[in-house]
Symmetry: C2
Subunit: 159 residues, 2 copies
Amino acid sequence: MGKIKLDDTDHKILNMLIENTRTPFTDIAKKLLISAGTVHVRVKKMEEAGIITGSSLSLDYKKLGYMFIAYVGIYLKKTSQTQFVINRIGEIPNVTVASITTGKYNVFCKLRAKNTDHAKGIIFKIDDIEGVQRTETMISLEESINDKKRLMHSIFDEM
Amino acid sequence: MGKIKLDDTDHKILNMLIENTRTPFTDIAKKLLISAGTVHVRVKKMEEAGIITGSSLSLDYKKLGYMFIAYVGIYLKKTSQTQFVINRIGEIPNVTVASITTGKYNVFCKLRAKNTDHAKGIIFKIDDIEGVQRTETMISLEESINDKKRLMHSIFDEM
DNA sequence: GGTGAAAGCACCGAGTT
DNA sequence: AACTCGGTGCTTTCACC
């Protein structure tokens, strides 16, 4: 987990792997005019440095019957209960992200559900957590995801 | 892109691939007591059915110098401008997700930035989009991500 | 830090049950 | 549908630059 300085070749490797984790190292090597062994060594280094933390599948949740996305803003009774509430929320598998925030809400989270009824049940679970004063739900009608690739390009441009 | 009915074996394959996209099919085959060829055929079917849409790297953005996460709630002047605003937001690479929502805000998005100054610039860009009336920013002090695996388990349990 | 070759595996399609 | 098997190609290591 030591420090590491990424160069342009590393950026290019990351950009290719972000688009498709299973891109063969031989393909990357050909494109970057280096050997497959070098690609392998560089990827391994980035894994060891903790920059690459893993890889995961992109799934179509709608096809799995999960049509519903909602954001829930949470007001707490006391901010000292934040960690407790975050832990309880973490136990609900349908909550995909939870953040401690400053601003309007104390805690903010996102959930996935099959339908409105299912979502209602999950939101009620959040409401029932000790320390939660009130929640505000925003239903996502449509989500557009700005792909990782563009973010990465901008990160590397600014480095 | 035809219909497909996933069975328990498919769920187990997905659960293993979600943890690590590069898990060799031979390993999956051993664990599930089926042949590697079968794993291959099933994964291919799920790809063709559009359930698996791709794969991507998990990165430590903090190590890349992006320490800052914020959520921005947007009020529009008229909802008829929603798509226009979503498109403009999509052009900002630092915005990682944007949603059209019902509830408190018309549009809701999440952004990644290097620091507060950098974030300020991005938020000002959003404020400047034609049709945006006002924004409310929530700074994420700490983000806990409920891993995909747990969500998937719950999806499969409920099927 | 990079290379290139070689050994070890994985992938994937064809043919079979 | 799932299996086996073989050709092809990918990964990974290592001696050398």
